[in-house]
């Protein structure tokens, strides 16, 4: 059994784009943002120019509750690069507002992960500009 913790090594960093910068700015403030459609109220992620549900261009950044459940998971034992400590647990999270994102699970035993597990976001600064959103059981 291994207690899952955020990566502490020199892992590769995300490079935001003009489109995604508000998402990363939100994380640095401790907010998990998604895009809400003014027309159909649908949620969109990853950051996009048009609504994933109706195609409207009227998208506004909105804060998520950061609560959700595990939709799918894997436990990685052969790291992508040696900078990653194993095991780590990539998950797809179903957020309460009806969108999905990729993350890693922390704060529990690696083998406690399961589909439907209730989770909430947890923020870990990687650099001054980049904070990664992990998820822990709630």
């Amino acid at each position: 059994m291994t207690l899952l913790v955020p990566q502490s090594g020199a892992i590769p960093h995300p490079h935001p784009t003009a489109l995604s910068q508000p998402f990363w700015n939100g994380l640095s403030r401790g907010e998990l943002l998604f895009q809400r459609c003014d027309v159909c109220a649908g949620a969109t992620h990853t950051p996009a120019l048009v609504c994933a549900h109706c195609g409207a261009r009227q998208l506004q950044w909105a804060p998520s509750t950061g609560r959700g459940s595990v939709y799918s998971w894997t436990i990685v034992w052969r790291p992508q690069t040696p900078a990653f400590t194993v095991p780590y647990v990539p998950i797809i999270v179903d957020l309460e507002e009806g969108w999905q994102m990729l993350s890693n699970l922390v704060g529990c035993a690696h083998d406690a992960v399961h589909v439907g597990q209730a989770v909430e976001v947890e923020f870990h600064p990687l650099t001054a500009d980049i904070t990664l959103p992990y998820f822990r059981p709630r």
Binding site: R78, T81, Y88, P90, L102
Partner: protein, 390 residues
């Protein structure tokens, strides 16, 4: 079928170079050249007979070095889309004889990490340690959760394909078996549910095909192989967005990303009036064991969620009803780079149609379904090859 779009097109030449974990002294261009020359010689043609090419540097180097310009050239990559595009170009009259060539060597040197083409740099995945195996694992796990698909079913697929490679002298892992499903389950875990032996290898090599007009192919060195149908399904860029089984497919639950390839298979079958039960050989793309189970469901060989049971009773072995990936595939034959390996299923499908496979030839095979891609990468390509002219 006189009105079939590929009635007047045939695959005339095919070639795999020697495949190896590392091919000393080669780079992508040089091994693609070997592949191209091999396929042209196989057809009984010369480089001057080529008036169209598809592929990256290898193909354009071929045009220049042989001074065969002007030729028609497509910017598309390799794999099944290239075969379909070559057939279309010939049918449309852009070219008579099209070479598809790709090669990979000397690119995977940093062995402590996973292969460079499996490591996405995208901002939404890079910090979470994602690579190809983890992407496909998220698809497989969801299917296991929803349908109860078991690790034993995955292992049975891997053992079957690896055993096809075990007896194939041209496979990189020739003689490494035989494997039982338990051997697969006993190998170390890479990305749960995938053990090491559920995963494809990485390697180097070149692959090439030559397509030409059917009336030309009739007088060449090999029995012509025909393109009965095909298409491709895409859901967006690979390895950037969550690889969700339920990624929306135009609001149709039967067309979510987990069934990627279903629409392409429907198109392929409808082009020639065939159905899954008409297929004799399933040359399915095998990046990970689960992907074979998923494809049997997506392509309509069995119902949704039935793939795990479908693969258990010998059905997918040579001698069974739907033999799968008969040369050992990406797991045991070779998995060269990002492009060359995408041509392996069409090449093996053509070998099966010619009846020339030295090992695991399916007796009397007349229809082969070849595929490429997978749900973890948000795309799947489908190609139906046949012995008889459509």
């Amino acid at each position: 079928m006189k009105d079939h779009p590929f009635h007047d097109v045939a695959i005339a030449g095919i070639h795999n170079t020697r495949q190896a974990r590392v091919l000393e002294g080669h780079n992508g261009s040089s091994i693609a050249m070997e592949a191209a020359l091999g396929a042209i010689a196989d057809a009984g043609l010369t480089p001057r007979d080529i008036d169209g090419v598809i592929g990256g540097g290898g193909a354009t180097d071929f045009v220049y070095q042989h001074r065969i310009g002007p030729v028609w050239r497509s910017m598309s990559g390799a794999g099944i889309p290239a075969v379909l595009e070559a057939a279309s170009a010939i049918a449309a009259g852009f070219a008579r004889t099209v070479l598809i060539a790709a090669g990979s060597a000397g690119t995977y040197t940093e062995r402590a990490a996973t292969a460079p083409w499996t490591r996405p740099a995208n901002e939404f995945v890079v910090g979470f340690g994602m690579f190809t195996a983890a992407e496909f694992a998220l698809i497989a796990r969801r299917h296991m959760e929803v349908y109860g698909t078991t690790a034993e079913s995955l292992a049975t697929v891997a053992a079957t394909i690896r055993n096809n490679g075990h007896v194939n002298p041209e496979a990189i892992y020739f003689g490494r078996g035989p494997f039982t499903p338990q051997d697969i389950l006993d190998s170390r875990m890479i990305a749960d549910p995938f053990h090491l032996l559920d995963c494809s290898m990485t390697s180097e090599g070149g692959c090439a095909l030559v397509l030409t007009r059917a009336d030309i192919a009739r007088d060449l060195a090999q029995p012509p192989v025909y393109v009965l149908g095909g298409s491709t399904d895409h859901y967006g860029p690979a390895y950037q967005n969550p690889p969700s089984f339920d990624l929306d497919g135009r609001g149709d639950p039967r067309l979510v990303n987990g069934w990627v390839g279903r629409a392409a298979a429907r198109t392929a079958f409808s082009m020639c009036g065939l159905r899954p039960s008409d297929v004799d050989v399933c040359e399915f793309y095998d990046p990970f064991s689960f992907e074979i189970i998923r494809q049997f469901e997506a392509f309509g060989f069995c119902g949704e969620g039935e793939g795990g049971a479908f693969v258990l009773d010998g059905t997918i072995e040579v001698g069974g009803r739907y033999p799968v990936t008969t040369d050992g595939g990406l797991m045991s034959f070779s998995h060269a780079g990002a492009q060359a390996q995408m041509l392996q299923r069409p090449i093996r499908g053509a070998q099966q149609m010619r009846g020339e496979c030295p090992t695991r030839q399916v007796e009397g095979a007349a229809v082969a379904l070849c595929s490429g891609g997978g749900a973890g990468a948000l795309f799947t390509d489908v190609l139906l090859l046949g012995k008889e002219r459509p």
